[in-house]
Structures are given as C-alpha cells and as structure tokens.
Symmetry: C2
Subunit: 323 residues, 2 copies
C-alpha cells in the first residue's frame, strides 16, 4: 500500500469512528458496530477522497461522502452474505451467522439509510448531483447482485453478460466513489465522466483479478482458501473462459468434476484443465484490457499529470495485490 493510501485510510477510519450509533436497540446497532470494525481495504472511500484531491480540493471536504460509500458498501456485504449463505467475512462470522437473518436484514437496511444520512452532511448545493449519482449506482449494484444470483440457475451465461454483471455489482460503485469527489470539487462534466470511466474500468479489472487470485493466488499471501470458487462451482470468468474453448471431452470432464465431493482433488483437476485451455492467460488479457481502458481515461482528464500520481499508484496497488 502506498503512503498516500495509508494517510487517507486513517482519515476515513476517523470519519467512521465519528459515525456514532445509538446503544438501543442493541440488536440493531450492535451488529453494525461489529461489522464496521471488521475493516477491509476501504478502497471506495479512498477513491472519493482522491477524486476531490485530483481537482485540488482537500480530502476533508468530501469526507462525509466517502464515509457514505463505505457504509453503503458494507450494507451490500451484510445483505449479500445472507443471500450467499456465507458463514465468514474477512475471517470473522457474518452478521446473519453471529446473530440471525432477520437481524442481518434489518441492520443492513438501517446501514443503507445511514449512508444517505452521511451524504446529506455534504453541502446542500452538491446534494442533487451527489444523490442522483448515488441513487443510480445503488440501483445498479442491486441489479448486478440479482444478475449474479440469476447466473447460478443458468448454464448459458456469456462472457459479455458476466462482464456486465461485475460492472454493475462491483465497478459502478468505484466510478461513483471517484465521481462524488469530483462533484464536490466542481470538476466539469467531461472530466467527471472520464474519472467515472477510470473507476469503472479499474473495477472490472479489479474483479477479474479477484477471480484469478481465487485459483492462482499465492496460498501464503492470499489469506483465504485457494480454489474456493471452484469448490462452490461459481461461474467466474475463469469458468466461462474454460467452457468457451473446451472440447467435448473436456466439457464432460468439467461436468463430472462439478459433482466431485473430494474438494482438494477437484481443485487440482479443474486447474489442470484450465491450464490446458490457457485460462489464466486469457483472464489476464481481459484484466489488462480493462486496466488499459482505465489508464486511458485517466490520461484524458484535463488536469496536470503530476496530480494524477496518487490514482496511478492506487491502480498499480490494486492490480498487483496478492490478496
């Protein structure tokens, strides 16, 4: 992580700590206090702060909006964890596991409202534009999550559909985070759109990186079990790329492996098939394409190149991370 990210993250942690929650009802706010301290990379709020700084506006001027995107992101995690029946998040119990599903639904709901409350602490003159962007993004994130759930029931998901799903589920929030900073900084519409594109394309690359790390990450650095997506038969980009170029024999092997209950053997065998089909290389090419799109959008933003160095370093960090 770069020094700049660390500095901004500290500012955000202060912002999150200032975000006080009532004591009662404890079953509503206790889960939120718990979940917000699980940490995470705080990438989205860092983007909001950097989005303002890019246009020479101090990070503190957009701190509430940055906290808002982090709260919103955590709301989506709490609800997604219910939908995915996930027992763990960042190595700790998920809210619905530690409490129950009803509490996870309701504390997620209140967290979404809290996100709006934070946005509304920004200057009134910026609210219409901030909220228009945020509302649209929030809706798109829900659409992406629904597409992801729908894909579980389908066996004809195309790569284009998959990219559209991760664009909505993950990437638009990165674009939104950056653009919120740019809105408060009164950047012009063209630069705002470029910055949004940078975030969106970076987000797609980021998510593809996630898919690659899940199977090809370094077990010592990854922090989670390698091959989790394969074990769960998740339709990641790797899976779709493999299916796209598999011959009949390989397809039959995939079908058989999906039912294999020896999960260690399954991961090894699927990876061997993926290697035959050069899946990792293809996924890296796709990632690289979106990374390049992102960097192209960044270049086109009409501010001196030296003001873009923090965003360049953040992109570099996200693309080379190993967990």
């Amino acid at each position: 992580m770069t020094t700049k990210i660390i500095v901004l993250s500290k500012l955000i942690e202060q912002g999150i700590q200032q975000f006080e929650l009532p004591q009662k009802p404890n079953n509503l706010y206790g889960p939120l206090r718990y979940f917000m301290t699980l940490g995470g990379k705080r990438i989205r709020p860092v983007l909001t702060l950097m989005g303002a700084e890019l246009f020479e506006v101090p990070a503190k001027n957009v701190l509430h909006a940055s906290v808002a995107v982090e709260l919103f992101h955590n709301f989506t995690l709490i609800h997604d964890d219910i939908m995915d029946a996930a027992p763990l998040r960042r190595g700790k119990e998920t809210v619905h596991s530690k409490w129950n599903e009803n509490i996870a639904i309701l504390s997620g709901d209140v967290l979404m409202v809290k996100a709006y409350e934070e946005i509304c602490k920004q200057k009134p003159e910026d609210l219409p534009e901030l909220l228009t962007l945020f509302n649209r993004t929030a809706i798109e994130v829900c659409e992406g999550q629904q597409m992801d759930m729908d894909f579980e029931e389908r066996d004809n998901v195309s790569i284009a559909e998959y990219i559209e799903m991760i664009r909505l589920k993950t990437s638009v929030l990165l674009g939104c985070s950056l653009e919120m900073g740019a809105i408060v900084a009164k950047a012009n519409k063209a630069d705002r759109e470029k910055l949004y594109s940078f975030g969106q394309e970076l987000g797609i690359a980021f998510q593809i990186k996630d898919d690659i790390l899940d199977l090809y990450g370094d077990p010592e650095k990854f922090g989670k079990q390698i091959g989790g997506d394969v074990m769960a038969n998740k339709k990641t980009l790797l899976y779709l790329l493999a299916r796209e170029s598999a011959n009949n024999d390989q397809m039959n092997q995939f079908d058989a492996l999906e039912k294999d209950t020896d999960l260690t053997r399954k991961v090894v065998a699927v990876r061997a098939l993926f290697d035959q089909l050069r899946v990792q290389e293809k996924a890296k090419n796709a990632m690289e394409l979106h990374r390049k799109n992102a960097m192209k959008a960044l270049v086109e933003i009409n501010v001196p190149e030296e003001q873009k160095s923090d965003l360049r370093e953040l992109a570099e960090y996200l693309m080379t991370r190993e967990n």
Copy 2:
C-alpha cells in the same frame, strides 16, 4: 372513505403508475411490479398531499414525495414479511413466498433506493429538509421493527415500551408523510411540528385500533381472520393490558391458553378473559387519548379551521374504519 381521499388516491395511483421499472433483471423488478399493484389504503401519500394542501399548496407539487413515502412503506412491508415469515399480504402471496427470500431482500433494497430517487425529484431547495426528516424517520422505523422483534423474546414488555414501539414502527412515518407536504409548502417550523404531532398521535391511535379490530372487529367487514394476533401469541396492547391487571388465577389461564393448539377455542377463551378484565374498554380509552392529542395538535396549527376539514375527515375515517 371521503370523496377527497378518493380524489387524492387516484392522483397517487397515477404517480405510482408513472414510476416505471425496467424489465430486467426480471427477478428484481417483477416482484416490485407485483407488490405495488396489491394496493392498500395509500394513507401515507394521501397525508403528504393533504399536508401541502393544508398550507394552500397544490397536491401535485408534492406528488413525488408522496410516492416516495408509499414506496418506502412498501419496502418495509416486503422486508417485514420476510422477518415475520408471513405467507400472505392483503390476501395475496408475499414476495418471499411467491419468489424466495433472497429476491425479497434484494427487491426490497432496490425499492428503498427508488423511494430516495422519488424524493430527489422534488425541488433542490427542499431536499435538505425533506431528506433530514425522511432519513431520521426511516431509521426510527427500523428501530421500531427491531423492538417489535425483540419483544417476541421478552415476557416483561411494559405498556410504555409497547407504545414507544408502535410510535417508531408505524406512527413516525405518518408524521413524516404530513410534514413533507408542509416542508414543500414552506410552512413555518411551529406549524410543521404540530402537523407532525398530529400524524404521530393519529398513528398511535390507528395502531391501537388495529389491535382492537383484530379481536373485536366485525368478521364480515374485517377481511382477515378474527383473533389472528391471539392465535400467534402476539404481544399486542390488548395482551399487555390484560396481563397488567390479571390476578394469579387469570395469569395461569393465559399461560395455559398460549399453548392451546385448538385455535378457535383459544380465541374464544382469551376473549372471555379479556372481557372479564375490561381490556377492550381500556384499549379504546388509550386510543381515544391519542386521538384527542392528535386533534389538539391540529387545532393549534395556525391556518383557518376550514382548511383543516380534509385532515379531520381523514382522521375520522381512520378511527371509525372496520378493516
């Protein structure tokens, strides 16, 4: 229903129909299209329109805010139905029954965002005040729902706690609905607060009426099964009033009846005990107290009495309804 309510309801139905939802993903928006056509009394949006008209501002100027409160209310119903494991709503299947819980969580989430989107269609100058009120109210509604769930696990709920719970879960949204109309109408702070109080007190009376109707309603007019709350051992105001004044013998009878699996016999026996304890009378007194508080607040609002007639008639309608 008064003519005025019918006229305003039609305006709201038009507003809701204008609220277009995308076709895709169909598992996200299909449930919302379904749920929004189940109807309901549309009391909350009518209040918003009347809140503006009270200060001589046309209903259409606050139509988006009124649709927003109705969307928000429906979001809470979709999520509450999951938490209550309710199979039916307005005689039709609930979203989680007709689809599944995950779809109900996510379509509820997107409906909440849609509510914010509608508010944001009001004039920018009104957004800070509208959103401050709406955010606070949304949080309180969640707190009320959590209290309601907590009460299920407790056997020492006081009547004061119960009233506080229904204030949060139900009544603040009525106050908010009215005050949003008053905000757009640029009413002064004192009148806005009185109007909010009117809605809040009316809401408490309305909810007590609900509790009474559940057991003492006319089976032919009520539309739902009489005694549903008793069958489910719900801690309604009737239940708490009965427990408050029951002697040891009566308390033992209540405890035994809670486990009775013959539900028809159970309802008859509980009602007989309630009658001994004059529970209906006491509940009506509590309802009347809050209704009077509401009417007192209405009187104090500084506009000519004749401009208050629609709100008076609406209150009268809500207090005399039989379903």
